[in-house]
Symmetry: C2
Subunit: 192 residues, 2 copies
DNA sequence: CCTGGGTGTCAACAGTTGTTGGCCAACGCT
DNA sequence: AGCGTTGGCCAACAACTGTTGACACCCAGG
């Protein structure tokens, strides 16, 4: 009399939370903030829209929870200075290819103020410190980091958001071969 | 009994059309596609929302009419080959600084399929031919043009859309000095 | 047993959206 | 004059949005 339930999920709490976050990331990534409706996200997660509100308070709260991201950038101290460009480019490529959070963040950041500010925070607290540790003059770090961000975000935009065919067609190694010298120059070349 | 109307604008037709287009461009540029409502655009243009429908059929029609853009790129034949990078970067900077259509297009393209396809068209029909005329091997033109687009759109994204503070702070000449060699390399350097 | 908090659903709210049709006034024509 | 065409406003529609509250279920603790 022990096994009367052949397949009954006994309880869940965090399971639903995680399902909601997954569905939210997917929707935000493919539709942007406005068109990613709570109803659509809830349907993807197979629960009622009101659960989203209960767990995350509001749509903004859900977005904030869904796009918390850690770039896991390498330690600048352990980064060979003349290969920083190549390492950064390959790291970003891997990041973008396997993580849809970044796509969501870029799509939302382009039209939504909160999304843009989230990107500002990631730039300031994650990319900027690395650049500060690599580039020669710390005072130039913000400008150099902005140039690097521009090149890398531009790649992501054309390749993963706009999906410009020739940008998508580029092989991974081609992208690295072309972009690594650029990023390296923005990081360490003397200011022009 | 002849002058009972001290100041009556006698007629308008194209005037209103133009006012709608102006307001639409501004709204699309600052709010993106979804949040740029027809009502808000109509209020900016000081007319009734239904007029927008009458003149442009639908919101999509309005968008299509509002973001028709000609980049006025220089003739590649008259372009000194070793200065193409500098010329392109300065041209794009001027374009972005005085024309809000491009901001609208990028904001919308990031979340809207029609907007993205419009950008594909501009790339294919305006940027690509110039690159084809400048770069050595015509077969490499699409890839090189995609790299150029990535760098230039990345700059526009960080500077004019996300408004990343260090990217905004860069002086125009600094941007040119940093980016011109990059674009020049993408255009004419031997493939790595 | 009953009680209670966590999990989930249903129905409804108030507001906004794109879009439509009817009506009014002014003008150019014959 | 009478006429049609044109520019414009108003009110309304149906659909959809984020959000809320009331109600059903389930399993543990007393």
């Amino acid at each position: 009399m022990a096994d009367t339930k052949p397949s009954a999920p006994p309880r869940r709490s965090g399971t639903t939370r995680a399902a909601i976050l997954d569905a939210a990331r997917e929707r935000f990534a493919s539709d942007g903030y406005e068109r990613a409706t709570i109803r659509a996200i809830a349907k993807d997660a197979r629960i009622d829209p009101s659960m989203v509100m209960r767990y995350y308070g509001s749509k903004e709260g859900l977005f904030a929870a869904a796009v918390a991201v850690d770039l896991r950038l390498p330690d600048p101290a352990a980064l060979p200075r003349h290969e920083a460009g190549r390492v950064l480019v390959t790291h970003f490529l891997t990041l973008w290819e396997r993580n849809e959070v970044l796509t969501a963040l870029l799509r939302v950041g382009a039209t939504n103020q909160a999304g843009a500010e989230r990107l500002h925070g990631i730039f300031r607290e994650q990319l900027l410190p690395v650049v500060r540790g690599v580039c020669p003059d710390p005072e130039q770090a913000p400008a150099r980091a902005a140039l690097v961000a521009g090149q890398l975000l531009g790649l992501a935009l054309t390749r993963y958001v706009l999906r410009l065919p020739p940008a998508v067609a580029l092989a991974r190694e081609e992208v690295v071969a072309w972009l690594a010298p650029t990023v390296q120059r923005y990081l360490t070349a003397p200011a022009p």
